[in-house]
């Protein structure tokens, strides 16, 4: 039976069969979940953040649960650019699903280097420029908290690659719309909203932070209201398409983001809880559209555009 509604979307020129992607850092390099999930049915796969050199990451404990949330301080552990290209990409390439590489660096030059290098790698459908990692000492989020640094970084990267550029923003800012505008001004093609708000938990028995690195990024249902608000704010102020994320656990959650103005969504923490979540959410969105007689998922974001404060 043909699907009765259109679920496919286009973000930053990347065509996806479903608006449901998997979020960076929560789906490894794809291979970890392949035994459980049909990767061909995902909207897109966003890889763990990649840096030029391999990174060991932060000392453990790296994660701790909070109410409806998860704090993580992985510290961008990754295999590094070259090993990623040589050992991880070939696996991902076997699937018929866009591969978006999340890239990060301590210096602008690193972002530029990675982008230039990946520009020539055919398997890559787009770059998610991570100016929002809260768990590294240098770089990451530091680039994402001021309009000037965002604009400059994005425009430098823009110069070295024709790949679609999705700028992944941090919620740890005063005005997310200004940052998103800077991403557009720099030449970005889309924004990902949101990376994790910076948080902390304390172990009162040991009287020490629960995470070795003291602070970490908060993900999961706890942050959904903040993420939704930012998506709606940006959708109403900035032209770039939005990939919405933050606490999506169910199709209902995803639909909230799509109504608020996101073109696609990404699911993160829920993968740990339910590896088939992305596919179930995609089906749930389809059912919602059918039930409400909405022919095209792309119609959903028209609603948010009408809400006024």
């Amino acid at each position: 039976m043909e699907p009765k509604v259109n679920l496919s979307v286009k973000v930053a020129g990347i065509k996806m069969r479903s608006p449901v992607m998997v979020a960076s850092g929560t789906f490894g390099y794809g291979e970890e979940y392949e035994p459980l999930v049909n990767l061909n049915q995902l909207g897109a796969i966003v890889t763990k953040g990649i840096t030029v050199q391999p990174r060991k990451g932060n000392p453990p404990p790296r994660i701790v649960e909070t109410s409806s949330g998860l704090l993580n301080s992985i510290g961008l552990e990754n295999v590094g650019l070259e090993i990623f290209i040589k050992e991880k990409l070939p696996f991902l390439q076997r699937f018929n699903t866009p591969i978006i590489v999340n890239i990060c660096g301590e210096k602008e030059e690193e972002y530029v280097h990675i982008s230039e290098r990946l520009d020539k790698v055919e398997a890559v459908s787009g770059l998610e420029v991570n100016v929002s990692c809260p768990n590294v000492e240098k770089g990451g989020m530091e680039f994402g908290r001021e309009t000037g640094t965002v604009r400059r970084l994005v425009s430098k990267v823009r110069k070295v690659t024709k790949l679609p550029l999705i700028i992944k923003l941090t919620p740890n800012v005063t005005d997310i719309t200004a940052i998103a505008q800077a991403a557009e001004d720099g030449g970005g093609d889309a924004v990902s909203l949101i990376n994790t708000p910076l948080g902390m938990a304390v172990d009162i028995e040991r009287r020490k932070p629960s995470l070795a690195n003291v602070t970490g990024g908060l993900s999961g249902p706890a942050i959904k209201p903040v993420a939704l608000r930012m998506v709606w704010e940006v959708a109403n102020m900035v032209k770039l398409p939005i990939i919405g994320m933050g606490g999506i656990m169910t199709a209902e959650d995803a639909i909230e983001f799509l109504l608020a103005g996101a073109t696609a969504v990404a699911v993160g923490t829920v993968n740990f809880v339910n590896p088939s979540a992305a596919l179930e959410i995609s089906r749930g969105i389809e059912e919602y559209l059918v039930k409400n007689k909405i022919r095209d998922v792309n119609k959903l974001r028209d609603y948010g555009a009408r809400w006024k404060k």
Binding site: G57, P59, P60, M249, F272, V273
Partner: protein, 294 residues
């Protein structure tokens, strides 16, 4: 690897705050090996949000029956917090969402002649499956009476699985810290005593229990050059190797391989790396592990 809902066949308190749960899970039973674990979603809601890992404790009937409905898996767990508390309240007949089997499992050298299994407290959980696997495997040389099991516990009523190991034909010794059963002292003390009576050739030590215990066993086996495999714990996110949340520090084979200073100072960058407990473990060689974790 499989994820889905399975039926709870039983969930009984076998010792104070310790429960044994049996699950109807042919997909797991057929595949699972000792040392692997199941990642269990204890509730449908978000409290707690994450799954909880439990070792494969016993694979019922695996080698005896063909009927998949009888291919069950058991876990043995202790109520340690919110998640295990909820689990202990789950009823027979309800469904439980499980993911597994995960992790690497114990390694069984074909030429092993003697095995010592050392359990501290709830650490007995994976070792029963291990004893089962050793005894029931046709490929191994080791005989059941050369499988020595040391069960350590705080007190008599917390000694778990003594009978089960005996039924498998293992040599079982019990240590209780308060002396209420067997050897008076810790499992490590009893282990040292046992070692003094054994031939170290073609011996492998397997252990699971509190970190302090594992660390001492690592010291002993390393000194005596006995191969030892330890099942470790840590906070787990995805359980499949994707989130990198369950890192454990290990010595780099290339590095000088020495432990970091006792004062908790940093090891040289080149000397260590992180491994994932869920995917690269939970069983690690005793020599690999860097112990001065926080």
């Amino acid at each position: 690897m499989w994820q889905g809902k399975v039926r709870i066949l039983s969930n009984e308190e076998v010792a104070p705050d310790c429960f044994r749960m049996r699950l109807e899970a042919p997909e797991i039973a057929g595949e699972a090996r000792a040392g692997q674990f199941l990642h269990v979603r204890v509730v449908v809601g978000y409290s707690p949000l994450l799954r909880r890992p439990f070792s494969v404790h016993r694979i019922s009937e695996k080698f005896k029956v063909k009927d998949s409905r009888l291919q069950n898996v058991e876990i043995l767990y202790e109520v340690a917090g919110k998640g295990t508390m909820i689990l202990s309240g789950r009823q027979v007949g309800e469904e439980l969402d499980i993911l597994g089997p995960l992790g690497n499992g114990f390694d069984l050298p074909g030429d092993m002649e003697t095995a010592i299994l050392i359990a501290g407290g709830i650490g007995v959980a994976p070792l029963l499956a291990l004893a089962q696997e050793i005894v029931q495997s046709s490929k191994l040389k080791v005989q059941s009476k050369k499988v020595h099991v040391i069960i350590g516990a705080k007190m008599k009523k917390l000694v778990l699985c003594e009978e089960e190991f005996k039924e498998l034909g293992c040599q079982v010794r019990v240590a209780s810290e308060d002396g209420s059963l067997g050897y008076s002292g810790t499992a490590v003390g009893l282990f040292k005593e046992l070692l003094s009576t054994l031939n170290f050739e073609l011996l492998t030590v397997y252990a699971c229990g509190p970190e302090v215990m594992l660390k001492k066993i690592a010291e002993i086996t390393s000194e005596k050059k006995i191969p030892a495999q330890l099942s470790l714990e840590g906070r787990m996110g995805c359980g499949v190797g994707a989130c990198l949340g369950c890192a454990i520090k290990v010595k780099n084979s290339k590095g000088k391989g020495k432990d970091s200073p006792a004062d908790g100072g940093q090891m040289e960058e080149a000397d260590f790396s992180y491994k994932r407990i869920c995917k690269d473990g939970p069983v690690f060689g005793a020599d690999e592990v860097v112990w001065n974790r926080r």
